[in-house]
């Protein structure tokens, strides 16, 4: 087989696994966003038990390797809760990433000047209204770039679920290798496919940053 045909052959083998990588990434990151927002808001709720709980959540999850968390949820909890691989994988990555996102969201919100809260309050807005109409729209601008980094990291870390037998991109690479014993080209192409996806994501997040840019404010978008 010449190199071109080999590459095509490998890519054909890898392609069916791409949707799984995308599904694990998108679902777990969505879960991470929802949990992260809840935990991030809890951290600044000012209600002590909630603050402590949220801080504990973040500290524990950031302090344990993701791989160990995947093992724990799939083998440890999975047996008890009857979780299948896919659910366990998404849950593990989602929960782990929610800790990082909680920190990003918390610091994003805290970066908005106190005067903004006060202006909103002095107009009679409730805390929820202030958060929704004044604080979060501004915090989003601050949150998007680091959250986008996490999204890309999440895509790459989705390869870890190959270990519990989910047939995503990395797993497909291993299968190809164990059938045909071509290592250099296989892993090179697996890497290239990941790279294409992360580059696509980078483009997407640039677009998002632009959309949330404020006129006359950093980023230089003026209509």
């Amino acid at each position: 087989m010449n190199q071109g045909a080999l590459a095509l052959n490998i890519l054909k083998f890898l392609a069916p696994a791409v949707p799984m990588t995308v599904a694990v990434t998108v679902l777990s990151f969505t879960l991470a966003l929802i949990l992260g927002l809840a935990v991030g808001l809890s951290q600044i709720s000012g209600y002590r038990p909630m603050v402590l709980l949220a801080k504990g959540y973040v500290d524990v999850l950031r302090g344990v390797p993701l791989l160990v968390q995947i093992f724990f949820i799939y083998f440890g909890l999975g047996g008890l809760l009857n979780l299948e691989r896919f659910a366990a994988g998404v849950l593990a990555i989602g929960i782990c990433y929610s800790a990082y996102l909680a920190e990003i969201i918390r610091s994003g919100i805290e970066s908005i000047a106190r005067g903004q809260h006060e202006a909103a309050a002095s107009l009679g807005m409730s805390n929820t209204q202030a958060l929704r109409f004044v604080i979060l729209p501004q915090a989003t601008r601050v949150i998007i770039p680091p959250a986008a980094n996490e999204f890309i990291a999440c895509l790459k870390d989705s390869s870890l679920v190959s270990i519990i037998g989910l047939r995503e991109l990395t797993r497909a690479g291993r299968e190809y290798y164990s059938q045909y014993f071509v290592d250099f080209q296989t892993w090179l192409l697996v890497g290239v496919v990941y790279l294409c996806m992360t580059l696509l994501l980078t483009k997407l997040t640039r677009h998002l940053e632009h959309r949330f840019a404020v006129r006359g404010f950093g980023m230089g978008v003026r209509r």
């Binding site: 009679g124 807005m125 409730s126 601008r141 404020v214 006129r215």
Partner: protein, 246 residues
């Protein structure tokens, strides 16, 4: 206003930060349509007092009433009462992610639940009134300091407040922009708005204020017509302060 008493009444109010007593058992009545200018040394508690008047600070003692309704930061009705007290800040505190029009329309839409169109129309009128009819779609970062402060005044007025509080509204402004903001405030005073203004603009105090108050260490040491307080203060600390400022 649908009651006969003062627009704002404070009785025995105190505010501490830790051991520091910032407002010290203070009484104040401000009549409807009265304009009060408050002066005092840095750290004398002027900002804190204003923040007490709209419930941004929780009192340690005393009561505050706005239009006869008790202002109680621990109570659910605080937002409704607070909406009746407009506040203008030294640093403007406009919402940077919203246009001038949306800055003014936001609270009427969310707090008063006005329909969008009505809120926008009303916001346009308010901005025209402060001379910014041509800047409706500008964002705060595209406006000068004086323009931003006028948007902030329009934003507070959009809630139809019974009392307006101003915390050094011109001290973050370049000198050439102070006049335009004071002019808006003068118009507002002439239209009968009840105003409490912390400002060291003595000309404004002399011309517009009905009463000048000198605050020191959380107490009112001097209170009276501008001419009397500014020209012939009785209290030595007030004398000392005005000798420096005037």
């Amino acid at each position: 206003m649908d009651h006969d008493g003062p627009a704002l009444r404070a009785r025995g109010i105190s505010k501490r930060f830790g051991n520091l007593v910032v407002v010290d058992g203070l009484d104040l009545d401000v009549a409807v349509s009265e304009v009060v200018v408050m002066l005092g040394p840095s750290g004398s508690g002027k900002s804190t007092l204003l923040r007490c008047f709209n419930g941004l600070e929780r009192l340690d003692a005393g009561i505050i009433e706005v239009g006869g309704v008790r202002l109680d930061p621990t109570c659910d009705t605080i937002h409704a009462v607070r909406a009746k007290v407009g506040m203008v800040f030294q640093q403007f505190n406009l919402f940077p992610h919203l246009s001038a029009l949306d800055n003014v329309a936001l609270a009427p839409r969310t707090v008063l639940k006005l329909p969008k169109e009505q809120a926008i129309n009303q916001a346009r009128e308010r901005l025209e009134r402060v001379g910014l009819g041509a800047k409706l779609d500008s964002f705060p970062a595209e406006l000068s300091g004086g323009q931003q402060q006028r948007v902030a005044i329009a934003r507070a007025l959009a809630m139809d407040p019974q009392v307006m509080l101003f915390d050094e509204p011109t001290s973050a402004l370049d000198p050439e922009m102070i006049g335009e903001v004071l002019a808006v405030m003068r118009d507002l005073a002439q239209s009968g708005m009840t105003m409490i203004v912390v400002s060291h603009e003595i000309g404004f105090a002399r011309e517009v204020a009905h009463r000048v108050i000198f605050l020191d260490e959380g107490k009112i040491l001097e209170s009276g017509p501008p001419n009397q307080v500014l020209s012939a203060p009785r209290h030595p600390r007030a004398k000392e302060f005005f000798d420096k400022v005037l």
